[in-house]
């Protein structure tokens, strides 16, 4: 069934159509929230909350934008809220080692691929830490725009639509984000 037909069926109360609709988009939603928040627990919460909001408000979806834009708007707002809360917490707690927990769960995969080559593994870990540090230096909006453009491959016009702003504002945000990232990683690469 095509997406529009699934949406209409789900709006009429067909839960299996809703489930199919979720499966069309949920891998991207989870990837987006996991990469933005760097924590499986937070990504899990955003996934649940985003799709529950979609379920509760699907009747109000009127096809005046794409379903993906509507869904990503919800996910983006939830992730921005999380990032802002974290920023406030970090400022309150000053210099604690927050943020390291999320990475540890993924060590297995990265290390497994580099097994048998300690130098490569060390470099990979150092680079990962530097990138993590550089991402943490971005504001929540810069982080979101960078993630949507670099990792999700969305055009700046679509990002602007999604965030309720102009393409130009999204472009400036991306420009600031890449500048900060380059400054943070410049001597390492």
């Amino acid at each position: 069934m095509e997406e529009a037909a699934l949406i209409r069926a789900a709006q009429a109360g067909d839960d299996s159509a809703f489930e199919e609709l979720v499966h069309l988009h949920d891998q991207n939603v989870l990837r987006l929230s996991l990469n933005l928040l760097r924590s499986p627990e937070d990504a899990y919460d955003v996934y649940q909350e985003a799709f529950l909001r979609v379920y509760r408000n699907l009747d109000q979806f009127r096809f005046d934008c794409s379903f993906q834009t509507w869904l990503y708007r919800i996910v983006s707002n939830l992730c921005l809220d999380q990032l802002r809360k974290r920023k406030v917490r970090r400022e309150e707690q000053s210099h604690t080692a927050e943020g390291a927990g999320g990475w540890d769960r993924f060590d297995g995969l990265a290390e497994e691929r580099a097994e048998g080559d300690p130098q490569r593994r060390l470099l990979s870990l150092q680079l990962r830490d530097r990138i993590e540090g550089a991402l943490a230096g971005l504001t929540p909006r810069e982080r979101l725009v960078f993630e949507l453009r670099h990792y999700q491959g969305l055009r700046l016009r679509a990002i602007g639509d999604q965030l309720g702003t102009t393409e130009e504002a999204a472009k400036n945000c991306l420009f600031r984000a890449t500048g900060k990232m380059r400054a943070a990683l410049g001597d390492f690469l």
Binding site: V22, Y44, I131, H150
Partner: protein, 304 residues
């Protein structure tokens, strides 16, 4: 356009986000400026490094999310009219030859109950020694109020059992082998492969691992299958499958594991495969491993 202006536009140039005229101006400048060209190369390397830092959600996380979401949705209050109407339409479609509903609806409920009970019996013959606990989940699928004030329900019941047994017990192994092929849930497939991989010394289990490695659409499942096949890396059928995966799998993580396992034993039969691989592989690590292996076997990188 001077170098300062060009450098300020390179980040957006690399994302393809410049206006047509700006892009033209940058390209013209790059043709004549080696310094800015090397800046483009530097930033391209930087992009690739960032690509490597991308996280892919583990299959088990996605499966957990889906399961929890659908459980929560089942608890959501339903918007009566709309949701009931689906079942009314279904009931209308299903009504055979105008038989009054009060005749077939209780019968349908009985049939559903019988199917649920019967299938659980068919699935697990009574001879296994596993411990079990049962839970029945009832779900109202159709509601028909009557003028008398009574109401008729069609109830679907799912019987859940907890089985606890050893991997070499036939019912347990049979269920795990079936779960490996369950297309609806990659998380269950990962866990099934993981469990089967711990006791993969039967031909049936090894075949299931090889099939999963060749055909499963989920990379997490394929990685688990490779892990389970490690003790059998030297068997001809495993090597054939690893070769196939190395040349055709679209996931670099899976190809990396395949090349590592295949290279445990460097034999002349892989020379052609590695040469073929080097012509199309773009992953640096896999290319390096292939070159090392070819050098160790005194073989050339190219084909003639």
């Amino acid at each position: 356009m001077n170098c300062e202006q060009a450098k300020s536009l390179i980040p957006l140039f690399l994302y393809g986000e410049l206006l047509f005229d700006e892009e033209e101006a940058v390209e013209t400048h790059l043709e004549s400026c080696a310094g800015c060209r090397s800046e483009v190369v530097r930033q391209t390397i930087w992009h690739r490094a960032l690509d490597r830092a991308a996280l892919t959600p583990p299959a088990a996380l996605l499966a957990g999310c889906r399961q929890e979401l659908m459980a929560r949705i089942r608890q959501e209050p339903r918007t009566g009219g709309k949701r009931a109407s689906v079942w009314r339409r279904l009931a209308g479609w299903w009504n055979p030859g105008g038989i009054p509903r009060w005749v077939w609806q209780p019968a349908a409920a009985a049939v559903l109950l019988a199917i649920g009970f019967g299938s659980s019996r068919l699935l697990i013959p009574g001879s296994y020694r596993a411990t079990e606990a049962e839970r029945v989940e009832s779900r109202v699928r159709y509601i028909e109020p009557e003028d008398s004030g009574r109401v008729q329900l069609v109830v679907e019941e799912t019987r859940q059992r907890v089985l606890n047994g050893r991997l070499d017990e036939e019912p347990i192994r049979r269920l795990l082998l079936a779960a490996v092929r369950d297309p609806s849930d990659p998380g269950v497939r990962v866990e099934s492969i993981n469990a089967l991989g711990r006791d993969s010394n039967t031909r049936e289990v090894r075949q299931a691992l090889l099939n999963a490695l060749r055909q499963d659409p989920n990379a997490g499942v394929r990685l688990k299958a490779i892990e389970g096949l490690k003790p059998y890396a030297e068997e001809p059928e495993t090597r054939r499958t690893l070769t196939e995966v190395l040349l055709n799998d679209d996931n670099p993580g899976v190809r990396t594991q395949a090349v590592d396992l295949l290279m445990r034993r460097r034999e002349p039969d892989v020379v052609g495969v590695l040469q073929q691989l080097l012509q199309k592989e773009d992953n640096g690590y896999i290319r390096m491993r292939s070159r090392q292996a070819l050098r160790a076997m005194n073989a050339s990188e190219g084909t003639f």
